[in-house]
């Protein structure tokens, strides 16, 4: 319970301490710490730090906390367990080290979870995103009956078979914090505690207004006509950039190829994905349309992935 007595005794981690600890842990295991990607995404996987970096042969380790927006999951701040925007701590280990499961369990220790006093199970849960042309094999990690992490061995991304594969560990920070602090509502999570006074700032104080206002927007106010307009504009521009990449002659130099703004094309694709989620939350996409729109976004994501992988190959060849 978040009571006053927690000032003297070393209580459970605050929300921000939880983040610090996990970042610290993964930094100490060779991860680059990145900031959250500043384009709306539905999951940490969609950040280019994951989606693009898992492509190609180059080893890569990164960790970042990604606010993940799912408009349809909003509950106007009324539901203690569901959010429009939750925070995923995303860790990518490419290639996955042999002891990746052991490292993960160590990370739980780092946030104060004594495994001798908790029941941990790795239960089958494979992940698939038709929109991203990506899938992987893995588990949901259950702690005393609570799903706290999604653990995935990426097999394919943007329609491209990965070699080497990447290990992806996604912590649901709100869930873990609520569990550690033993609160029944996410909004009661202690986000920060002033060191001098012990005064607490709760998750609700930081985020409740946002949950409420965005639920209103996502479900009631978002202008369907304009959303579709935005969608088409972003899609068109993304396609133009991709056409430019395709038009580049084979014999074009390394520099010309590395200048291709594929990272920008990917941002445009992410914009489309978010607009799709908004339209979906507005109930503006019929079932028949749905499949078609997903296919359009997937086409963009797959094309960006393909062009990006080719760009990396050229860059790697030049370095060699």
């Amino acid at each position: 319970m978040a009571s006053n007595s927690s000032v003297e005794r070393k209580g459970p981690l605050t929300f921000q301490e939880l983040l610090f600890q996990l970042q610290q842990f993964w930094a100490s295991h060779g991860c680059i710490l990145q900031q959250a990607y500043d384009v709306e995404v539905g999951a940490g996987t969609m950040s280019p730090e994951t989606f693009l970096r898992v492509l190609g042969p180059k080893p890569f380790r990164v960790a970042y906390a990604q606010p993940s927006r799912r408009p349809a999951d909003g509950r106007y701040g009324q539901n203690p367990n569901r959010l429009f925007k939750h925070t995923q701590l995303q860790v990518i280990l490419k290639p996955p080290p042999e002891n990746i499961q052991g490292l993960y369990l160590e990370s739980l220790l780092a946030i104060g979870i004594d495994l001798r006093q908790h029941d941990v199970k790795f239960e089958e849960d494979n992940w698939e995103s038709p929109t991203l042309g990506a899938w992987g094999i893995g588990w949901q990690v259950m702690l005393d009956g609570l799903e706290i992490t999604q653990f995935t061995y990426f097999q394919q991304c943007g329609g491209i078979d990965l070699d080497p594969i990447a290990g992806e560990i996604t912590y649901g920070l709100e869930r873990i914090a609520a569990f550690l602090q033993d609160v029944d509502s996410i909004y009661d999570i202690v986000w920060a505690r002033e060191p001098d006074t012990g005064k607490e700032v709760t998750y609700g104080e930081v985020r409740l207004a946002e949950e409420m206002q965005f639920s209103v927007y996502n479900f009631e106010k978002a202008d369907v006509g304009k959303l579709w307009q935005h969608f088409r504009l972003y899609e068109e521009e993304c396609q133009e950039l991709l056409a430019g990449a395709r038009a580049l002659p084979e014999e074009a130099g390394t520099e010309a190829r590395s200048r291709l703004p594929l990272l920008a094309a990917f941002d445009l694709c992410l914009k489309c994905s978010h607009l799709f989620n908004l339209l979906d939350a507005r109930g503006a996409i019929s079932v028949t349309e749905r499949v078609g729109v997903i296919a359009r976004i997937r086409a963009l994501a797959v094309a960006v992935a393909k062009a990006y992988a080719a760009q990396q190959m050229v860059a790697a060849a030049t370095r060699a």
Partner: protein, 729 residues
């Protein structure tokens, strides 16, 4: 005799895949040993599994292959020698076989004279054979879904393989798979034992060594331990029982290496939610067992199976965590329930227009309309009708139509979106909450039934009719767009739907014996293009008959040939038209059981042989394109045997339908067996294929009549050779 152990250490294998893989690994190892001449009569194969390992222990294998002599046949003698001198062919053969040319012999076989060589093969040591052969067996294990994890993608497995133990007695067999070399170091329980390697000294000590590291490797022992722990935890509440759930016991057995059980509780207020929802939340997401009192009423408690052994303090922490999660889940469920009530089922029907059933078949709204029409068609085909009274009939029709209309509406609810396995059930519960008639609510609730072989059929006739309409129209419509099951692929679970149709027809005695399979299928054909397409119609009907045969074999445990013989009972043979004198499927199944009991009797076998002979003659006539009437004309009879056969056929035809209707199946069979004498006489004294075509055709017509009268009950010619197959069982 040596013993051998193989343990494959993996990251957590999906619970549902472990048992099959354990069995397969044991079979593969045993087959390898047999194939490689290393098996003995006394060979003992024991297998183990946990989420993190598959293991097989073999005792009493041979230490090595026996030395062997083998005779290899080479070229023909006339090719091998020219004028007594060995040709290059002979020299090459001798070289290939590793013998001197002078050691070649000549042998005589069916094809002529050949040269041969006697080759001595030195047996290889078991260690060598196993080391070379096992990697391929490990790689060959079937997984419904597998992955690659190493760079260059050299192999696939269900999850990354992290260690291997392979011992032949005390010796390590250093076999390699997935970049891992086998040793004697295993892993214990992740938490209770930690990272210290577990050293296995000998194969026989495997299970006990792992037990000391907090891993019970025998799933049967784990299952037993879990059941006892569930019992023990339940005893904390007087009079309580945990709700038996074999499938769930299996899942938790395969999720744990060192299981224990804790008892948790939840607030009594959640018990206002229906049992089905509470149990689904506990079972599906949390893998908890429900508790009930002596009257089978749910208690506000649950049992969680842990993969851990903890003291009281630890148990308290874990109990608290699990209770917290369950409370949140129940809150969600209650939230869904409340939100869903804001739109009554009847208003949700329109919303089904935006839920796709199948892209070429339209939405669930379309499916609903189709189900309503087919349900009505089914009711109209009852013979005799379900009700004598018009009032009762109209009430029934209205109830069925309302249930069919609302049956799919729960697909739009938050509750079903969250707990898809509760489709139908939620609709029924909501119908009741919305004060719809109880019969309608139950019909909605039951309309997916039976969902499996173990599941019950709908509890009321109205539910059965809606269930039949839903299943049969799905089958017919999927076939019509070419989506029938092929081989092992059945993505729309049409076989299960067909099994459901058959089971309802056989087992629902409240349907009043008025419904034949062909009528249900015709109900779904009405006004579809399938009606005009004879091939399609035939394919669907054969598919349904296959399901019926399957039911007779698997559920009624009837001999496969008997099942085959009654397959088309109540129809007029080769086409799918229904005989006027319907037989209900419950009766056909009853008859099949009686026939199964009597099929070995000499009279039945004799008449089966005779009827088969008759069928053969008719088939040959058909091949010669001879046409004849369906019934003989008595004025062309020449022999007494013809007259007495026809008289008996008339007697059988007059008698068996009534006996069948009265469920006197044994008498039906006895009566058919009475055909033995006149048939024997007929074949002894009458020549069928005579020159005189009028005479010939009349005799064919007599046989045809005989065969078809009997075939109404069963195609006895299918039983002709049954004795042999019974023996070989």
């Amino acid at each position: 005799m040596p013993a051998f152990l193989l343990e494959i250490g993996s990251e957590e294998i999906p619970a549902g895949m472990i048992a099959a893989a354990q069995t397969e690994l044991a079979q593969r190892v045993e087959k390898l040993l047999t194939r490689e001449w290393l098996a003995t009569e006394a060979l003992q194969v024991t297998s183990y599994s946990t989420p993190r390992r598959l293991a097989v222990l073999v005792e009493d294998l041979l230490p090595g292959q026996p030395d062997m002599q083998e005779e290899i046949v080479g070229p023909a003698t006339k090719v091998a020698y020219k004028d007594g001198v060995p040709t290059p062919a002979a020299i090459a053969f001798a070289k290939k076989s590793g013998v001197e040319v002078s050691a070649l012999k000549t042998i005589q076989n069916a094809k002529g004279e050949y040269v041969s060589a006697t080759v001595h093969r030195r047996g290889r040591a078991a260690a060598e054979v196993l080391k070379d052969g096992l990697a391929a067996e490990i790689a060959g294990i079937y997984w419904p879904k597998s992955m690659y994890w190493r760079a260059g993608k050299p192999e696939r497995f269900v999850r990354p393989v992290r260690w291997l133990v392979a011992l032949l007695d005390q010796e390590i067999l250093p076999l390699e798979f997935a970049g891992v070399t086998a040793g004697r170091a295993s892993c214990g329980h992740r938490v209770l034992h930690g990272d210290v390697p577990v050293v296995v000294k000998t194969p026989q000590e495997y299970a006990q060594t792992l037990a000391a590291a907090y891993v019970e490797v025998d799933p049967a022992a784990r299952r037993e331990r879990i059941r006892k722990a569930l019992d023990k935890a339940t005893r904390q509440i007087a009079g309580a029982r945990w709700r038996e759930d074999e499938a769930l016991v299996e899942i938790v057995t395969n999720l744990t290496e060192w299981p224990s059980v804790i008892l948790g509780s939840f607030e009594r207020e959640y018990l206002t939610l229906p049992d089905e929802i509470l149990v689904t939340v506990m079972r599906g997401h949390q893998k908890y067992f429900a508790l009930e009192d002596s009257e089978k009423k749910l208690l506000p408690n649950f049992l969680a199976v842990l993969n851990l052994e903890v003291d009281e303090a630890g148990a308290a922490v874990i109990r608290h965590g699990n209770e917290r999660v369950l409370r949140a889940r129940f809150n969600d469920a209650r939230f869904f329930w409340d939100v869903d009530q804001k739109i009554p089922l009847v208003d949700r029907v329109e919303m089904l227009k935006s839920v796709t059933f199948q892209k070429d078949l339209g939405s669930y709204w379309d499916k609903t309309e189709r189900n309503r029409a087919v349900a009505r068609q089914i009711i109209d085909r009852f013979d005799p009708p379900l009700f004598d009274s018009e009032v009762k009939f109209n009430t029934f029709c209205a109830g069925v139509d309302q249930a069919a209309l609302l049956a799919k509406a729960d697909l739009t609810t938050e509750m079903v979106k969250e707990f898809t396995e509760l489709q139908g059930v939620v609709g029924g519960l909501y119908a009741r909450a919305q004060r719809l008639p109880d019969g309608v609510a139950r019909a909605i609730h039951d309309h997916y039934k039976p969902a499996s072989q173990e599941d019950t059929i709908p509890s009321l006739p109205a539910g059965s009719v809606v269930a039949l309409a839903d299943k049969i129209s799905t089958i017919v419509d999927m076939f019509a767009i070419g989506l029938q099951p092929t081989g092992s692929k059945d993505p729309f679970a049409l076989r299960r739907a067909g099994n459901g149709v058959v089971r309802i027809l056989v087992e629902d005695d409240k349907l009043n014996d008025g419904l034949h399979l062909a009528n249900v299928y015709l109900a779904a054909m009405q006004n579809t293009k399938a009606m005009e397409d004879a091939d399609l119609r035939g394919a669907i009907y054969e598919f349904l008959l296959d399901r019926f045969e399957f039911y007779l074999r698997e559920a009624a445990k009837v001999n496969p040939q008997v099942a085959r013989a009654v397959r088309k009972a109540g129809t007029t043979g080769s086409d799918y038209e229904v005989d006027g004198r319907l037989i209900a499927y419950g009766k056909i199944a009853g008859f099949a059981k009686a026939l199964d009991a009597q099929v070995g009797s000499p009279n039945v076998l004799a008449v089966a042989e005779l009827l088969k002979r008759a069928s053969n003659i008719l088939r040959q006539a058909k091949e010669k394109e001879i046409t004849y009437a369906q019934s003989p004309n008595e004025k062309y009879f020449q022999e007494d045997a013809e007259i007495s056969l026809l008289e008996k056929v008339y007697k059988v035809d007059d008698g068996i339908h009534m006996m069948y209707a009265d469920r006197k199946y044994s008498q039906v069979i006895d009566m058919i067996a009475e055909l033995k004498e006149p048939l024997n006489q007929f074949f002894d004294s009458v020549m069928v294929m005579v020159e005189d075509t009028q005479l010939r055709d009349n005799r064919l017509a007599l046989l045809a009549r005989t065969v078809s009268v009997v075939r109404w009950a069963a195609d006895f010619s299918e039983l002709a050779s049954i004795e042999k197959s019974v023996e070989s069982f």
